[in-house]
Symmetry: C2
């Protein structure tokens, strides 16, 4: 496996992505379970790091983890009209259990608003019970037709936050706070720049009043919706009769939010940073930050090199690759494909001169450094790499973002773009938040990704479809 070549990004971006995943040993398709994958140790370790970063922030913003049942009575989904319409086509249904046909089937959760709504109704009576701030780490199933590892799989791992509030204003604060948390993790941990914005009505979550997203640009110029945060209004409150007595003694429906990110983030991470040699990981999400490869030809060199290798590696927290029967070249190749940020080389000549060679995965630069300084140099390299990857991605997004002032212009920019060929752009254009306008973009397979919360362009303008005045430009792109 490790010896197969990786398709280049230019040749076929989609094939490149698959090669990077497989040869980084992150995951593999579970062809016997439609659209599912096995997440392998290298991939799962990244997920664990992401979980830790997210979970710490969820707890710091007052959310508590709970666990709700995987199975949801089928009738629950039907209680919210838009919700069932959106999710029905994607459901996996349990009809037999314990050897018997069930009277009422269960669906495997595609998301948990409905079952959590049911429990919120039991737990919330008074304004004193609010806000209720819950998070769940879980697996969900959505029966997708076209799947790609990490980006869209039938089963995926995610977290789903669910909150209930006394006022719409307070709910909205949480919606935007959690969007900020997601943007913080995306930018400062994943080194993946994102645009925070509002989804159009036709792209919102099924059952929400409003949805917000963070959108990232992949190296092929396609957009990836990397996280969403929803203002559910009182829709689920009414569907599940979640009422509370207000301070003023009135019976009112709660205002709810929900927000989620998933293992899809790992797909975004790969498509933001990796190169034609394979996986590139930002240091903050690298399960192994540095590997030391000892080099020796003769047996009499081995003991001294290995002793120094282990001593230095211990000091700086690196892993020593002392596998026998593998050449140094094979080892470099191995760690390169796995995206290890820094590989250190230590040979007999380095030993004599008190040096060690530090090689960066992102830039490919090799630098001999004093052994006495390697700890500081490694820390500096990791720090520089984290920043460098972010800046490179940010520059790329900037370079591939263009303005357009007519539908024709948008179409001509995006018409030949595909996940395979790349060439994608973020097209900033004025377009009205109206399903009829979204529909026009569908003609050439683009969508409004979101309407940015912060306008970095030229303010109001005329809708490219209707000519009506629009507040600011939206991001239009092809996407995953």
């Amino acid at each position: 496996m490790a010896q197969s070549p990786i398709t280049t990004r230019c040749d076929d971006f989609a094939a490149w992505y698959q090669d990077v995943v497989l040869q980084g040993d992150l995951a593999e398709p579970a062809e016997i379970v439609k659209g599912c994958m096995v997440i392998k140790p290298n991939g799962y370790a990244i997920w664990e790091l992401l979980q830790h970063e997210l979970d710490t922030r969820f707890k710091a913003t007052g959310h508590k983890n709970m666990y709700f049942p995987l199975l949801i009575p089928e009738s629950f989904l039907k209680k919210e009209a838009e919700h069932v319409e959106g999710f029905s086509p994607e459901l996996a249904v349990v009809t037999i259990a314990g050897g018997k046909k069930l009277e009422e089937p269960y669906v495997i959760r595609p998301t948990s608003e409905t079952i959590i709504g049911h429990f919120f109704a039991k737990w919330i009576q008074s304004w004193r019970d609010l806000p209720m701030l819950v998070n769940q780490w879980a697996n969900v199933i959505r029966w997708e037709l076209r799947t790609r590892m990490f980006l869209r799989t039938t089963e995926f791992l995610w977290q789903e936050g669910h909150t209930a509030h006394a006022t719409h204003e307070e709910a909205n604060e949480v919606v935007l706070r959690m969007l900020d948390v997601y943007a913080d993790v995306a930018e400062n941990v994943m080194a993946m720049p994102v645009i925070k914005g509002m989804k159009t009505q036709s792209e919102k979550f099924a059952g929400a009043l409003r949805s917000y997203s963070i959108e990232a640009m992949m190296q092929n110029g396609l957009a990836l919706q990397a996280g969403t945060s929803h203002d559910l209004g009182q829709n689920f409150g009414k569907a599940f009769d979640v009422q509370f007595q207000s301070k003023e003694g009135q019976l009112e429906y709660v205002w709810q939010t929900s927000w989620g990110v998933s293992t899809r983030l790992i797909g975004g991470l790969i498509m933001t940073h990796s190169d034609d040699k394979g996986l590139v990981l930002p240091p903050k999400l690298a399960p192994i930050k540095a590997v030391l490869v000892p080099i020796y030809r003769k047996d009499e060199e081995k003991a001294a090199v290995l002793e120094a290798a282990h001593r230095i590696a211990k000091e700086i927290g690196a892993k020593v690759d002392d596998r026998d029967g593998q050449s140094p070249g094979a080892k470099f190749f191995h760690w390169e494909r796995r995206g290890v940020p820094v590989v250190l080389e230590l040979g007999p000549r380095d030993l004599a001169s008190g040096k060690i060679v530090l090689k960066r995965r992102d830039t490919g630069t090799k630098e001999p450094v004093d052994q006495s300084e390697v700890g500081a140099k490694l820390a500096a390299a990791l720090d520089d790499m984290q920043k460098g990857l972010y800046n490179r991605a940010k520059d790329r997004m900037k370079a591939n973002t263009v303005l357009a002032n007519s539908l024709d212009e948008v179409e001509s920019i995006l018409k030949d773009v595909s996940a395979e060929k790349g060439g994608g752009k973020f097209v900033m254009a004025h377009i009205k938040d109206d399903p009829a306008c979204d529909a026009r973009l569908k003609e050439f397979k683009a969508t409004v990704r979101n309407i940015p919360l912060v306008d970095e362009y030229d303010g109001p303008g005329k809708c490219i479809v209707t000519g009506e005045p629009v507040d600011r430009r939206a991001v239009i792109a092809k996407s995953y």
Copy 2:
């Protein structure tokens, strides 16, 4: 909820257990999904601590986390005859997905030996690929008729380790090593003494050659199987054609193991330590180790008490319960039912005398200590409590373990025991590992829990059923 009384253990142990769970706000039944529960923040936080303790040990013993699909093709289960026979009655089956009837139904994993066997066959070719050491944190479903929160629920959270080896000897080492890991966490983290032993052939895991367990004694004298570790032999290797080329060039089937513990551990934790006032947690598994309750009557006392409370709490890592509108008594009650190990009281008189009152949840003792020493005293109290809870449970197990030398004797000791009434014993008796002997115990609803790995009794003797010579006494008990 918090004001309801807790049934005493003497009155009805099963009702007491349910009260402790509900009033500790650990979980509640999800009556709309058969046999499921919602794990609430107080319960989930204990699970997170347990996960951390276990996961650290799994990684230290060389295992890597992966994630396999929730759904398993129905035909997979049928490949191992004993396995399908054991699990068939408990399966939940997905027959419809994406709006269509499936050609082959999927079952929701009751355990993952089969799907992991499928992938092991893909990944393992040579002895160089061995050992393969995998762990998965996941939810599973087993359609149980009688359920009890944490102890037996239709869906539960667990970890399942799966390993493959070149030799039976090496597989067996892992089986016993992971049993040791489980015993270590049970005894040194949960403060729950356990007996490590081998299950009889009729009690082993469906598809295993041999199963081992740790068995704990609950306060009603019933046994709880708290963790299992299985020697799967070559059964799944043969069923899924997991073959490897040995060093000698032969094609051989791998030897596999699997081992798991679940949210059931939380049930064991509760039934080992809690009392008639509610939950008692060993400090190592207490999400909140100490709460400081500030006491003041007059408004002019409030500021000084709160200032000191927050200052001291910050120093020692305690939580301040500064909720308005709750009396100190209500606060003590609240934290008592939630099993917080130490509650500190700080009032105006304490402020004047430089003291603070430290109250232990386990013993109920209250001790005024110098504020300057409270950090050290708290640490000492937590340490003493961790040890004390273990010793108390160990003494209880010893006191309720009896020897018997005939089937009549075993029956007369166990006949009136029940989960509600208690009175259970561990009866140590010589009994042959033969399904016919196990069957005799079923007559009075007891089972051989395990045959201890270490004989702490009188060595060989005659089987109480057949009279044949038996190596050592086994643990016979009623159980959950």
